[in-house]
């Protein structure tokens, strides 16, 4: 966090000065490790073992926050009799199909929940193929609001007992064996985490792509969620799980998504084969209880925002105008489609896949096979110049004169040259003013899409197929000579308005009858009272502890999600020290420094009447209001593609055997078995070293925003790898010299930094060396400095839920000296591929 989020890390430093104990668990000793109380080196790709052992520590020592767990989680809920755990099946859950490599999740359901036909179930085939579970970040899969339960937690089929059995083999010994963390260090961590949880104290977890970019990435986060729920650390001040983002407003770009499978506000993209009309879609996507029960209002308001008066009840609000998924349209399948000639055109906006995505060669082969490519960026990134300077030109795999791709480079405005919002990881929207006009032809993204849309609309006729575009509301006011669209008008549209055009104040005002429009239901209220709430900047010294008047947080300006859980079931604060949102019986409402993430006047004693829908179906003691049962899910009965409980699987390319189960890797992981994407065999002696990629404070992602700047470039001028003294000794690597890193994809050369910060780990009773590689360099990119592309080493193997690539744990070989050039490079890699 100090390394990649130094500004945010100031608060950690402040907390430390106030006595907070901070642990850093990471394969590499970074600036963060230097600034904490205890650093634990861990083998890349083994975190679920550690988290599982913490869960086991909590459960087997009875350290869970029992009142919280009983009242607010699904610990007591009974699970289907047919369910079989990894304990029973040596690393597999019930429902696995060897042939397809997919799970049928129906046996994972709660007792009494009727599994649907497999085809259409959430988590089922079509669903999984289109990364359906990606949307559960906020949505929650459908499950019964009141499943059978056993409050004594003794029924062997209750979640609590299943959990206990599932994690019983995650012992400190396994942590030592697989993570390389000695038992005394584990004990220190476990004691700190449990001692700092409960009524009086809370513990927070902070993670970044070191947890997500794995073939089991989603389950890493799930494991942390289970731990936090067991310890009562969700919905309370100082608790939670914080995702550190890789760019400014990455949170914003999932809220108003740039993802193929989502519509604004985590509404699922309709699927061509799972959904017919609006009613069918609404019936299949999500449950009727909890706040998702209002999804008709969210979806209809979105359709009204997009198609305005053209969207009416009679035409299903033009639900038919929405594009439909037919399967996986994610980044990597798009690239394979390019190589196969199925994808002809490509927009790349503020991204640099030729350097930033796994298996750079496949990326560039795809780019070279396009008809046209639009790149919008601040500088001519490698993705725009691959046709003349890609490594494949040097090796002869590509020839400039044979590449037919027409590249359009559109210079973009920087963040200070345009206005708009950033949404940070705390869901906080902060408005930025424009400081100056962008130079020359540089334009904001808003300008680009607005005017592109206008030009396309001009060229379209009245054919039915054109109507989804011609009937779009596309009437943003234009400002100044450059006709920059008014960004506040867009924010107003996102906020939504009622039938009279008045800005909505809250998402509760959204109507399912077409009388309201709203571009993103979770952002509803950001323009309440016609005021740009995201532009508020009252200093924290002049307001309460939750700083409600700094920017605006979705939903409804709530700063801590599920904060009903900060009070006990009766609505009283768990403790004076951790008092936050609580029930004031006199006023008959929830009060506290934050906006309650709960109906303000729903009493703790509220019991939902039979057949109640949406939020009304949740009791006054159900804080997790987006879930169908209002509970925090220790166990996920539906929605995930690779199992209801996090389970340790080795990375696809691992140097280590999975000693927890017979099953080596995530059985549901996505592999792309093609010539362009060869894999290192697991446990291969040809690739004995573990590598992980990383970032540095001095650079930003692929370097497009930092390598062209001399002030940043000089601070980390060359691509390098960090290795331990022992590994350097073993291989004859010299500090300041060169190393060649080889995988089945390619070989790259990096400068060597020999450092005591990297230590060999003892894993499975043998020594495992790790190579740490920052990935900020590329072959061009308008940079004053260049270097080999680290992500060229990586393979495309994906988490089955969200299709993130496994770039944080791979295997490689390391040779001293520089890599061969040209044809000789291909020969070297070829030799490695075939042993």
């Amino acid at each position: 966090m100090a390394e990649c989020h130094p500004v945010g890390f100031q608060w950690v430093m402040e907390a430390r000065q106030r006595g907070t104990k901070v642990f850093h668990i990471d394969p590499r000793f970074s600036r963060t490790s230097a600034s904490v109380d205890r650093y634990l080196p861990i083998r890349a790709g083994s975190d679920i073992v550690l988290l599982g052992a913490l869960i086991n520590h909590v459960l087997s020592n009875g350290l869970d926050f029992r009142e919280y767990v009983l009242a607010y989680t699904n610990a007591a809920t009974l699970v289907n009799q047919e369910f079989r755990d990894t304990e029973d099946l040596d690393g597999l859950f019930s429902g696995y199909d060897e042939e397809t490599g997919r799970y049928d999740p129906s046996t994972w359901a709660y007792e009494g929940d009727m599994p649907e036909e497999e085809e259409l179930t959430e988590g089922g085939r079509h669903h999984a193929e289109a990364a359906g579970s990606d949307s559960y970040g906020a949505r929650g899969a459908g499950a019964s609001a009141t499943p059978p339960s056993d409050p004594t937690l003794t029924n062997p089929r209750c979640v609590y007992q299943i959990l206990k059995r599932h994690y019983s083999r995650y012992t400190p010994e396994m942590v030592e064996e697989l993570c390389g963390i000695p038992p005394e260090r584990f004990r220190e961590l476990a004691e700190a985490v449990t001692a700092n949880s409960g009524r009086e104290r809370t513990t927070a977890w902070v993670y970044s792509v070191g947890w997500t970019q794995h073939s089991v990435g989603v389950q890493y986060i799930r494991a942390a969620s289970i731990l936090q729920l067991l310890l009562g650390n969700m919905g309370r001040p100082g608790g939670g799980i914080m995702a550190l983002r890789g760019h400014a407003s990455i949170q914003g770009s999932t809220d108003i998504p740039t993802l193929f499978n989502l519509l604004p506000g985590y509404i699922a993209m309709p699927h061509a084969h799972r959904h017919d009309g609006l009613d069918d879609y609404l019936e299949r996507e999500g449950s009727d209880t909890g706040w998702w029960g209002n999804r008709r209002a969210y979806v209809v308001s979105l359709l009204k925002a997009w198609w305005g008066d053209a969207a009416t009840e009679d035409n299903d609000y033009h639900f038919d105008y929405l594009p439909r998924l037919t399967g996986d349209h994610g980044h990597y399948s798009t690239v394979m489609g390019q190589i196969d000639g199925k994808v002809k055109g490509y927009f790349v906006v503020g991204e640099n896949p030729a350097v930033g995505s796994a298996n750079g060669k496949a990326q560039r082969l795809g780019l070279a096979n396009l008809d046209w490519l639009v790149v919008r960026d601040l500088v001519t990134v490698e993705t725009a110049t691959f046709w003349k300077d890609a490594p494949e030109i040097e090796t002869g795999e590509l020839r400039t004169e044979e590449i037919g791709t027409e590249v359009f480079f559109m210079p973009a405005a920087t963040h200070v040259e345009k206005e708009g919002t950033f949404t940070n990881t705390q869901r906080l929207l902060q408005w930025r003013e424009k400081a100056l006009d962008p130079p020359e032809d540089c334009r904001s993204d808003l300008w680009f899409y607005h005017h592109l849309g206008k030009r396309i609309r001009q060229r379209l006729g009245g054919d039915a197929i054109d109507r989804p575009v011609t009937e779009l509301t596309w009437d943003y006011p234009e400002i100044g000579e450059r006709r920059e669209p008014d960004a506040e008008a867009v924010l107003r549209e996102i906020n939504g308005s009622d039938a009279d055009g008045r800005p909505l104040a809250s998402l509760r005002e959204l109507k399912p009858d077409g009388s309201t429009s709203c571009g993103c239901w979770i952002y509803c209220g950001v323009y309440a009272d016609g005021v740009n709430q995201a532009a508020r900047r009252k200093p924290h010294t002049e307001q309460g502890p939750a700083a409600l008047e700094w920017g605006w947080a979705w939903p409804a300006n709530r700063r801590i999600l599920y904060n009903r859980a900060s009070a006990d079931p009766d609505g009283r604060p768990w403790s004076e020290r951790k008092k936050y949102v609580y029930w004031d019986a006199e006023q008959g409402r929830w009060v506290g420094p934050d906006v309650p993430d709960f109906e303000e006047d729903k009493a703790p004693g509220y019991v939902p009447p039979e057949g109640a829908k949406a939020q009304h179906a949740l009791a006054g003691t159900d804080p997790f209001i987006m879930q169908s049962d209002g509970r925090g899910w220790l166990y996920v009965p539906s929605g995930l593609a690779d199992g209801p409980l996090p389970t340790h699987y080795e990375p696809h390319e691992s140097a280590v055997r999975n000693t927890l189960y017979g099953q080596q890797s995530n059985p549901a992981r996505r592999t792309i078995d093609r010539a362009e994407n060869p894999y290192n065999p697991a446990l291969s002696p040809r690739f004995p070293y573990v590598y992980t990629t990383s970032r540095l404070t001095e650079h930003h992602t692929t370097g497009a925003m930092s390598r062209p700047l001399p002030y940043l470039a000089e601070l980390q001028p060359e691509a390098f790898c960090e290795v331990s003294r022992e590994m350097a000794e073993e291989l004859g690597l010299e500090n300041g010299g060169w190393a060649t890193i080889v995988t089945a994809r390619t070989a790259i050369e990096l400068r060597v930094l020999v450092t005591g910060r990297v230590r060999p780990l003892r894993v499975n009773r043998r020594t495992v060396h790790q190579v740490i590689m920052p990935y900020h360099w590329g072959y061009g990119g308008g940079g004053v400095i260049t270097g080999d592309v680290v992500n060229d080493l990586g393979s495309v193997v994906l988490d089955p839920n969200v299709y993130i690539q496994e770039s944080k744990a791979g295997t490689c070989d390391v040779l001293p000296g520089r890599r061969p050039r040209g044809r000789a490079l291909l020969d070297l890699v070829e030799r490695y591929r075939h042993g």
Partner: protein, 250 residues
Amino acid sequence: MAEQRMGFFTDTTVCIGCKACEVACKEWNDVPDDGFVFRATSYDNTGSLGASTWRHVAFVEQDGRWLMMSDVCKHCTHAACLDVCPTGALFRTEFDTVVVQPDVCNGCGYCVPACPYGVIDRREDDGRAWKCTLCYDRLRGGMEPACAKACPTKSIQFGPLDELRERAQERVERLHAEGMTDARLYGESPDNGVGGTGAFFLLMDEPETYGLPPDPVVTTRDLPAMWRWAGGAALALAAGVAVCFAGRKP
């Protein structure tokens, strides 16, 4: 005129090595880049303070810890660079800081080896001496220096020197109480060899580990003695010449 002496207290125990100070300094003061060299000295690729690096973050790798420290001109009470500057290009400001006037500096370079901390240096291309100005222009405008402004963890603290010294003393005492007995202040004492520095530090190891002199002296402290020895030599020279002529008739 400011009544108070202004300075920096750099608390290395909270430095996270982000180098924002280096970059902010260059942005504000329009300092050119210092070359693109991979030095293989931990995460330090600028090496040391110099004509084109006025804040420099040192990275010291030790067993189990990684010390980081943002170095800067010390703005000494008795500043050798200022003392020895023959042109008056270096001067003491109303904030009791030491600043080079680039329009007066003639590039004689004498200040360069005079500095006991190796701070000031001459730029090869323009031939003049440059160093930290403690953002003299910003101070005059009532703002804090760019590095202190950019520091996310308050490792670089700017303020009246008296207050900073007090704060630093408290901080060291607290760290000692917490068992961090390595903590020590560097440069704050008016009794040291430069009469105390306007920019002082809280270090976690011996100063030389960070590339700092353990017990620097302002070289001009000994200037009277030097002149006395030189005077003696001059007299001896005159006498010697006289002796050579003595008794020799033309």
